[in-house]
């Protein structure tokens, strides 16, 4: 993790400790404590609970399955290292883990921009051609393609609020923006998706 990322995490925890999220019930608190003690059952439960979430987050942020697996694995590895030192009450563990995974995703997105390629693998358009029959898999691929073409911050807002089902306060905190700015990103992202997928809306797809 970069030094800036570490500072981000520290700042995030401090922000939560100062602000309105200082008092909350963390559903992962007991599990994290047991993971920190090396309890094998707790480690398995943590994998079952968090690995799918981190994989989904990374897959939708990066659009590349192999990179998403690397990010999810690294995020969980950092969770194993953090668990013995975890101080409950300062931040929700799930939010902290999202921050770790998002930082890893942004590291990769930044690297992609620094290495110019003719056709970045994560931005390939898997959308079906307009004249093809619209199968469910085609629509899924079209949605993923449209998500991948959104600006990073709009995609992040939609991924955090819609797919990861974080509250608007948690998502805005992770993105370090106001609630108003988060809502603006969400609205613009959803509008762009609606326009990009106009042919695939219910009633227009013929499936």
């Amino acid at each position: 993790m970069t030094g800036a990322a570490v500072l981000d995490l520290t700042g995030l925890a401090a922000t939560f400790a100062r602000g309105r999220m200082a008092t909350f019930a963390d559903p992962d608190e007991d599990l994290v404590r047991r993971v920190g003690q090396g309890d094998p059952a707790a480690i398995q439960a943590m994998v079952a609970r968090k690995l799918p979430r981190m994989l989904a987050l990374a897959q939708r942020m990066l659009g590349d399955p192999a990179e998403a697996e690397d990010v999810a694995q690294e995020a969980l590895l950092r969770a194993w290292r953090q668990a013995p030192r975890w101080v409950s009450g300062r931040a929700k563990f799930d939010t902290w883990l999202h921050r770790v995974a998002l930082n890893l995703c942004y590291d990769r997105l930044r690297r992609r921009r620094e290495v110019p390629t003719a056709a970045p693998p994560d931005r390939r358009d898997d959308s079906p051609a307009p004249d093809r029959g619209l199968l469910a898999a085609d629509i899924g691929a079209a949605v993923n393609g449209a998500l991948a073409r959104l600006p990073d911050r709009q995609r992040e807002a939609i991924v955090l609020c819609h797919y990861q089902e974080l509250s608007n306060i948690e998502a805005a905190g992770l993105m370090k923006v106001s609630i108003e700015a988060l809502e603006s990103l969400l609205s613009r992202g959803r509008r762009a998706l609606r326009q990009a997928l106009a042919d695939h809306r219910p009633g227009a797809e013929g499936v």
Binding site: L51, R60, E69, W80, H162
Partner: protein, 142 residues
Amino acid sequence: MTAERFLALTTAYGADRRRWPDGERAAAEAFAAARPALARPALAQADAVDALLHRSPTPQVSMALRDRVLAAATSAGDRAHHAGRLWIDRLSLAFGAGWAAAACAGIVAGVIMTGHVTADARADAVLYQASLLGMDDTELLG
């Protein structure tokens, strides 16, 4: 809640009221009930976008990835245990060295002290015998 705010909520968070902000959910629901002519089209449009978003397939965790993550947990645990063990070993070594140093210092001090005590005792004995026998130092010590 104003009409403008209701439209902003559905445009940002969609039609599923569970996704609306906690603090505004009740007011938005009341608005939708009171102003259906305005609310229904907005909710229908938001619901169409929600339905599209739901079509994105959820990635499945492969067994290989799961195994790698579990192996990493074991490895991290071993390293933490090893680090803890090293710390204890180092502490033990430090304490052991301290005890050894203290023991050596005790022996040296004991030897020196014994020498001093023996010399003092010898001198006392000489003076005592001299006083008893009335001999001078030359006679006694030769």
